[in-house]
């Protein structure tokens, strides 16, 4: 039977091409993602081991703490220790480092490559015996020699638009510094080359900034030939003060750093994997459909095989073998395509913020096995039902005319099962409307409900096809006879039409659902951010460990046009339930800059020992206004009883709790610092001049960002970008696969209807008419899929959106009508495009096809 299968595949190759393409796409995504993952991991490892190639052992101070604490504790790493380390047997060279971070202002005044705090590196230029630092080879200029000079790496210089001799403003963790660029170096540190910045100071300056005079943040040792990293590490540990410093081998560090960047890249794999799953899922319908039609078209042949003695099992096996062959071809093609995807993926995923390392493609056994398993597995699974149909063909059918029109689907059982599933899915989703929050349990219910709903839609589609397409026939009927014929043809085999429309249905449902939820959430976030914020400008630090110079508050208040400037210190509040963010505010100006919606109590009583909490915290802790809350603030040592003076509706500007600024500042990790300045202008005016003056007031520090109300609101919704990316990706993918599916089905049905089309040509329908008929049939099927998908997607979004109701007070269903309209137009266009080739083929048929004797 293998030979029969092979012959069949070859005979039907044109029809199978489309099917192969669908599977091929899915396999390509799977394989591409895996190869990309392997490749990027290998590239990261290569880069990381290059970073640590010369380092056998690194000595670091033990238990480093943030801020001021580090400076006292790092005393173990001083020049005396460096000398002792150099004397350790087997140590070839010793290089002390002073590392920290620094944010630069680019030539145009905007902070350079900020966003990933750990990627803005700063270090000391440590000249060796030859007066050069081997770690940072100079490209141009000279090394920084005093506190007024600095050097950067070539990537940073290019991104910032710096040239030798330029004056650069920068900040490490405090006030703004101004230095002159004297040198440009190269570096192989992957954190920098992957989109970070590197700033080099002379040793004394770096020590003053990041350690203490004469102290280092780490010491690297290289091993003499014949000494292993482990041996050296042991000897080094022996000379270290045990509780104040420790030794780590270079290999361990390389692994650690590689792991660090791996985590980052792992995030990139999610999207292609979702695409792979979706394309394979939708693709399986395409396969099942193709095989159903192939088996139906081969009824006589199968009956003949049965008549001459083939068993049912042999027939089934023949069909399944065909599927295996098809799956193999598709997997092979997908594998190649996947390698292509893996090759271009780094470029696609690289943003201006960071570039992914390039390296030769690493093709491990994992992607190969996965591609084969997925491709063949899905194909065979999808062909299983049609193969059962093939087995049901009775030998007697060899003698019957194959031209009989297919009988109507016996849809009662299907309808009952589908309806039951629909009720179950809808019931599950509807049960969420009463949900208070997005707990794991509720999310699981939502996922399960959506899954059941999708299956129900797939099962019910053939049953729904007849009434829905009949309804759409009213529209196509306007196109006269061609429209009527198209509509009847779409109805001829509702099961096939439904299966064809399934791909479009699923992708439309997904995209519509995501679009609605995304839009609703975005608007809710906007409203939430906008409603809680009374300020027109917010000045804030980029990282939580740094602060704004407290003296700047008065300077900001003095800026012409500023009515109120209110400083906020952000800290943490430990309650019995967990860690909360507390905002230390000035009670008399807070009303002007925050719009607090008080549930209970009054903010006037805010003061030391008296705090306000958000409704969520109040509910969680079971307190109300004038109640008491046992909590610990910031770096304070002991829990104490705080009096709750007010409860307010959750507000992103106010965070979880509000306290008196003087009190919050006292217990802060960086005592006396402030993190935000909320500014109210006269008449709510925002202008470039005010913004510039505000920037000047905070000393043009790159650590401080100045945002208008709109920018802040926009930023709050920015997290939805990934969702949108996913949505448009799915849309594109769904469209492509639906296109393949509809084209496939139409091509097959044109082939089956050769005689009919010949008759139409013979009795006077011109080629344009035939084309229009096929096109309208395609659009009818596409419209059916779209309609069903839209309904499912909107329903899903409506019910799942209920989860957000608890989490977001201002959530309301807001369908993005424009996007949805675009989606509908796109789907209909898919129908038109999919019909192009089959319509042309049909139109090319000669009227003589009507009299062809079979």
């Amino acid at each position: 039977m293998l030979r029969t299968a092979l012959r069949n595949v070859l005979a039907a190759k044109a029809r199978l091409v489309m099917t192969v393409l669908a599977v091929c796409l899915g396999v390509a995504f799977v394989c591409g993602t895996l190869v990309f993952a392997d490749t990027s991991v290998a590239a990261h490892r290569a880069a990381a081991s290059k970073n640590f190639a010369d380092i056998a052992v690194t000595v670091t101070p033990r238990t480093p703490l943030t801020g001021a604490a580090t400076r006292q504790n790092s005393s173990a790493l001083d020049d005396a220790l460096v000398h002792r380390l150099a004397a350790v047997p087997g140590a070839a060279a010793v290089r002390p480092s002073v590392d920290g971070s620094a944010v630069l202002n680019a030539a145009d005044g905007t902070p350079l490559r900020v966003g990933t705090a750990w990627a803005n590196l700063a270090a000391a230029y440590v000249p060796g015996k030859d007066g050069k630092d081997g770690r940072y080879p100079l490209l141009r200029g000279h090394a920084p020699r005093n506190a007024d000079e600095l050097a950067v790496d070539s990537g940073t210089a290019a991104a910032g638009g710096f040239g030798i001799g330029d004056t650069i403003t920068l900040a490490t963790d405090g006030p703004v510094l101004t230095k002159r660029l004297v040198g440009i170096v190269t570096t192989q540190d992957t954190r920098v080359t992957a989109g970070g910045t590197l700033t080099l100071f002379d040793q004394a300056t770096a020590q003053a900034l990041f350690a203490a005079p004469g102290r280092y943040t780490s010491v690297d040792l290289s091993a003499a030939p014949g000494t292993s990293q482990a041996e050296l590490s042991e000897r080094v540990t022996a000379v270290l003060p045990p509780d104040r410093a420790e030794a780590v081998t270079g290999a361990a560090q390389a692994t650690q750093q590689a792991g660090y960047v791996d985590t980052l890249t792992r995030g990139y794999q999610k999207l292609p994997m979702v695409f792979a799953a979706v394309s394979l899922f939708i693709g399986s319908f395409l396969i099942a459909n193709t095989f159903t039609v192939l088996v139906a078209g081969r009824t006589r042949e199968i009956a003949l095989l049965r008549a001459i003695g083939a068993s049912r099992r042999q027939v089934v096996r023949s069909v399944l073998w065909e599927a295996v062959l098809l799956g193999l071809v598709a997997s092979a093609a997908g594998l190649l395509l996947g390698l292509g995807i893996a090759a271009v993926l780094p470029d696609l995923l690289s943003t201006t913020q960071g570039t992914l390392p390039h390296g030769p493609l690493v093709i491990g056994p994992r992607p190969l096995v996965a591609a084969l398993a997925v491709g063949v597995g899905v194909t065979v699974l999808a062909a299983w039902l049609p193969s059962r149909n093939a087995a049901k063909v009775a030998p007697i059918e060899a003698l019957r005319s194959a031209d009989q029109p297919p009988t109507a689907v016996r849809s009662r059982v299907r309808g009952a099962v589908g309806l039951a599933l629909l009720v179950l899915g809808a019931g599950l989703l509807l049960s969420l409307t009463g949900a208070k929050d997005a707990s794991v349990e509720n999310l699981q219910t939502a996922m399960f409900g959506c899954g059941v709903l999708v299956v129900a839609m797939i099962v019910l589609a053939p049953v729904l096809a007849t009434p829905v397409i009949r309804l759409s026939g009213r529209l196509t009927g306007r196109f006269g006879m061609t429209g009527r014929l198209a509509h009847r043809n779409a109805l001829r085999n509702p099961r096939r039409s439904a299966a064809t429309a399934s791909a479009l249905m699923i992708s439309t449902a997904l995209v519509a659902g995501l679009a609605v939820i995304g839009n609703s959430t975005g608007q809710a976030l906007d409203r939430q951010a906008a409603s809680g914020l009374g300020a027109d400008y917010v000045l804030s630090t980029r990282t939580t460990t740094t602060g704004i110079d407290p003296a700047a508050v008065q300077r900001v208040a003095d800026v012409p046009g500023v009515r109120t400037a209110s400083a906020v210190t952000d800290s943490v509040l430990f309650t019995g339930g967990g860690v909360r963010t507390i905002s230390g505010v000035t009670p008399d100006t807070v009303d002007a800059v925050m719009r607090l919606d008080l549930v209970d109590g009054s903010l006037k009583d805010l003061g030391p020992g008296r705090i306000a909490v958000s409704r969520t915290v109040a509910r969680e802790q079971g307190v109300s206004a004038s109640g008491r809350l046992n909590a610990r603030m910031g770096s304070g040592q002991d829990f104490q009883q705080y009096t709750v003076v007010a409860v307010y509706q959750d507000n992103p500007t106010a965070h979880d709790a509000l306290g008196d600024r003087t009190e919050v500042q006292r217990t802060g990790f960086d005592p006396g610092s402030i993190q935000r300045i909320l500014v109210r202008t006269d008449g709510g005016a925002t202008a470039k001049t005010i913004e510039d003056r505000l920037r000047t007031a905070v000393g043009n520090s790159p650590l401080v960002q100045v945002q208008t109300r709109e920018e802040l609101v926009h930023q709050a919704a920015g997290a939805l970008g990934e969702l949108l990316e996913l949505m448009y990706g799915l849309l594109a993918l769904g469209t492509v696969i639906s296109l393949l599916g509809i084209t496939n089905t139409l091509a097959m049905s044109v082939a089956e209807r050769t005689r009919e089309i010949g008759v139409l040509r013979a009795i006077g329908m011109d080629r344009a008419g035939i084309r229009r008929m096929i096109r309208l049939e395609s659009v009818t099927v596409a419209a059916f899929g779209t309609l069903l998908g839209l309904a499912g997607g909107l329903f899903g979004a409506w019910t799942v959106g209920a989860l957000a109701n608890g989490a977001m007070t201002r959530y309301a269903l807001a369908p993005p009508w424009g996007t949805l309209l675009l989606l509908c137009i796109g789907s209909l266009a898919t129908g038109v495009i999919a019909a192009a080739v089959p319509a042309r083929r049909a139109a090319a048929l000669s009227p003589l096809a009507a009299v062809a004797r079979t």
Partner: protein, 260 residues
């Protein structure tokens, strides 16, 4: 049938020629595989006449009909429907000609399975975007006697009924000429005779020109004239044929094939 005279539908004076071929040849393939299906055929089909084309299998009778009906292009020679020379028409014009001036009846009925009997009958008009002439439509329907079954799909009709629908479809646009390709080939003898009766009726009562390809001598009995084709050539002609005479003539072909 009613005996009423169909005054508006009286035939034109039966002198004109509805369709004619001159030097019509059709050649398939080339070189070694070259097959001459029609060899310089000259034939005219007069208005209001029922012509039957006969001949042994492979004699080219179907090809002649396909070329004359504008379904297929001639290799050389000319085909005229009325005064229109088919060779000069492009595909769209040829399609329109088939739609407006030619009717077809096929051996395999070739009704569209998705349309009802009535929709099938009016299909040529619907394609042309014309409203059916109610009176004429009723007349045609009553002629083929389908009154009660108009709402049925082809699958719900017997072979004879399907072919009656096909005949009605061929007549509905009042074509200049109706071509019938083995119209009784898929029917039992009773249903076949019925269809032949209808075609005969069309010619007599409506003055319709009908050309029929058949190999059934009984079918030829209904025609005004029988032309015999052999090896792509017109070899004989018989007016006012009877089944016996036609059978006699056909036997000659058999003998000739056997002896030759």
């Amino acid at each position: 049938m009613t005996a009423e005279p169909f005054s508006p539908y009286l035939p034109h004076p039966a002198t004109g020629v509805a369709a004619a071929t001159t030097g019509l040849s059709k050649v398939y393939g080339s070189g070694d595989t070259r097959v001459v299906a029609l060899d310089e055929v000259d034939i005219a089909f007069r208005e209001g006449e029922f012509t039957s084309i006969m001949g042994p299998s492979g004699c080219g009778k179907s090809t002649l009909m396909h070329c004359a009906a504008g379904l297929d292009r001639a290799s050389s020679g000319s085909v005229r429907i009325g005064t229109t020379e088919l060779g000069t028409l492009n595909d769209r014009q040829l399609t329109e000609l088939r739609r407006d001036r030619i009717g077809f009846v096929f051996q395999a009925f070739n009704l569209l399975p998705t349309l009802t009997a009535l929709e099938n009958i009016t299909l040529p008009l619907a394609i042309a975007g014309r409203r059916p002439d109610r009176q004429w439509l009723d007349h045609v329907i009553s002629l083929v006697g389908l009154g009660r079954r108009l709402g049925h799909r082809p699958a719900e009709l017997s072979g004879g009924q399907q072919q009656r629908v096909a005949v009605a479809r061929a007549l509905v646009s009042r074509p200049a000429i109706v071509f019938a390709d083995e119209p009784t080939g898929n029917l039992d003898s009773r249903a076949g005779t019925e269809i032949l009766g209808f075609l005969r009726e069309c010619v007599r009562e409506l003055g319709q020109t009908v050309v029929m390809v058949t190999h059934d001598p009984v079918a030829a009995d209904f025609a005004d004239r029988v032309v015999f084709l052999s090896d792509g050539r017109l070899v004989d002609e018989m007016t006012r044929p009877t089944a016996d005479r036609v059978l006699e003539r056909m036997k000659e072909f058999d003998t000739r094939t056997r002896t030759g």
